[in-house]
């Protein structure tokens, strides 16, 4: 076991020394990978924040009907049931001021202290209308028009129309991110594959000699795979560092410009876990590229 570990240690040292033998190629490879991962990282960050905005808005509620102050509870209930009875409507929900306050507190989380002193009565009663998924787009608009005529209704907010537009946008962004992820995966694997292939050619006599003295296939190949993994991790780390710099210089401006839309009040960067995931992803791509090269060019 300790022998195995020592052999591994030696393999690691050789992997690193191997990289030092061609610093230019290595740097170019790492930078190219970094650019690829940076692109993917930027799109992912956009997607994460856009999803955050959309989630925060609760856009799955197509129609919200705000009622006048001091509407008797029976009238509110009656209207709720009448709307629910429409065939195009899936279901409705009456939101009392108490529930509204509770939701607001939940939504604000630790920032809930700003609500201190807010009286329950200051919030309006509202009816949330969930339409059938297959109901026509115009239905929401028509229903809103009719509801505005009802005496106890103060205002009707149609979220559905722009929510669906936003969802479409989000879908497009997801497609872009997915496609980009594929392209980046392919590009990074190709980059390590070609640099490791070069490394194998450059160190061919070393490979040959290790075979002669009884190096196992794994022992001979491992340094190259380690080299690929290091490339991947460095590429990802470099990309994330650049992205972090970009994010921290842009975020304040974005937050000011978008303050209306930002429910949580801030755009966010990747979590530590997500950063680790990205590094792992880089390492994995490096390992895959290196393994392909090594399987093809290091014979035993």
């Amino acid at each position: 076991m300790t022998r195995g570990l020592r052999a591994l240690g030696y393999v690691f040292v050789r992997g690193v020394t191997g990289m030092r033998q061609s610093p230019l190629v290595q740097t170019v490879a790492v930078l190219t990978m970094a650019v690829c991962i940076l692109l993917l990282g930027t799109v992912s960050l956009l997607l994460i924040n856009a999803e955050g905005v959309v989630d925060g808005w609760g856009v799955d509620v197509p129609l919200t009907v705000y009622l006048n102050e001091e509407v008797p509870e029976e009238d509110a209930l009656a209207l709720t049931e009448r709307i629910a009875a429409l065939p195009e409507v899936d279901h409705t929900e009456l939101v009392s001021p108490a529930i509204a306050l509770e939701r607001l507190q939940d939504g604000l989380g630790t920032g809930a202290s700003v609500l201190e002193g807010v009286e329950v009565q200051m919030l309006p009663t509202s009816i949330e209308v969930y339409t059938q998924p297959e109901s026509p787009e115009e239905f929401s608009a028509a229903l809103a028009g009719r509801l505005r005529e009802v005496k106890i209704v103060e205002e009707v907010a149609i979220v559905g129309a722009w929510a669906s537009a936003l969802n479409d946008g989000l879908g497009a962004l997801r497609t872009i991110a997915g496609t980009l992820a594929l392209l980046v995966t392919f590009a990074c694997v190709a980059i390590t594959w070609s640099t490791i292939r070069l490394a194998v050619f450059a160190r061919r006599s070393e490979v040959e000699i290790l075979r002669l003295v009884g190096g196992t296939r794994r022992f001979v190949r491992a340094p190259f795979v380690i080299e690929g993994a290091i490339q991947g991790v460095l590429g990802a780390a470099f990309a994330i560092t650049l992205l972090a710099f970009g994010f921290h210089s842009l975020a304040p401006h974005l937050e000011r410009g978008l303050s209306l839309f930002l429910v949580a009040g801030a755009v966010r960067f990747f979590t530590v876990f997500e950063v680790m995931l990205a590094m792992g992803f880089g390492a994995l791509l490096g390992v895959i590229g290196a393994r392909i090269a090594v399987a093809r060019y290091v014979e035993i």
């Binding site: 022998r3 570990l5 000699i209 290790l210 002669l212 009884g214 190096g215």
Partner: protein, 247 residues
Amino acid sequence: MSILELIDVRKTFAAREGAQVALDGVSMSVERGEFALLMGPSGAGKSTMLKLILALERPDEGSIKVADRDVHRLTADSVPFLRRNLGAVFQDFRLLSEATPQENVGLPLRVVGVGTNEVRERSREVLLRMHLDPDLKRPVKTLSGGEQQRVALARALVTDPPVLLADEPTGNLDPDLSRDILDHLVEIQSRGTTVMLATHDPVVPSYVPVTRILHLDHGLLVRNEVTPRLRAISDRHDAAAAAAEVA
């Protein structure tokens, strides 16, 4: 019991002028503990035979056995373990040209995960036996041919392998040094290592107390000459085996 055995081995190399026959139906065996000489003119197939035993080349026909195991039926994963038991000196040395003598000699130990201190100790010790400065910090490529040859021999011996295959290990040495190295090989053999030495130096058989001389010519084994010393060797091994059985 034979430790090396070739049965009807044929090896050809593809060449532009047609197939080049390197070994043409060679059968022979070497017992444990022997000092066998492989002789013959240039191009006779000596190096090819050693490479086949090391599983560096595949035979077209026939089989090659090391300790009764067919080396060309081994899986790719077990070939390295075969090579760890066969110390080898190549005609062209095959050293890491940018590495120091000590790094080169330590390589077979590194491969099996021996710790740095032990690697240094053992490499130094064999280099000294080969009359080389063990602390030389120069890359091997700056060494003379004879010095490189001794580094190669040191690398083959550092693991104390049960079998030593040496391809012209004294080809680049002056007569004094050559005799010294041969004495060393004889000593190793006297301690139980099987030695197979390829050479076309006609002086070697008269100087070294060999057990067997194999003569190759144009890929044919033209003579397989056993000397009286072989009896002594096999008696010794039989006695050892008998003792082991009794115990």
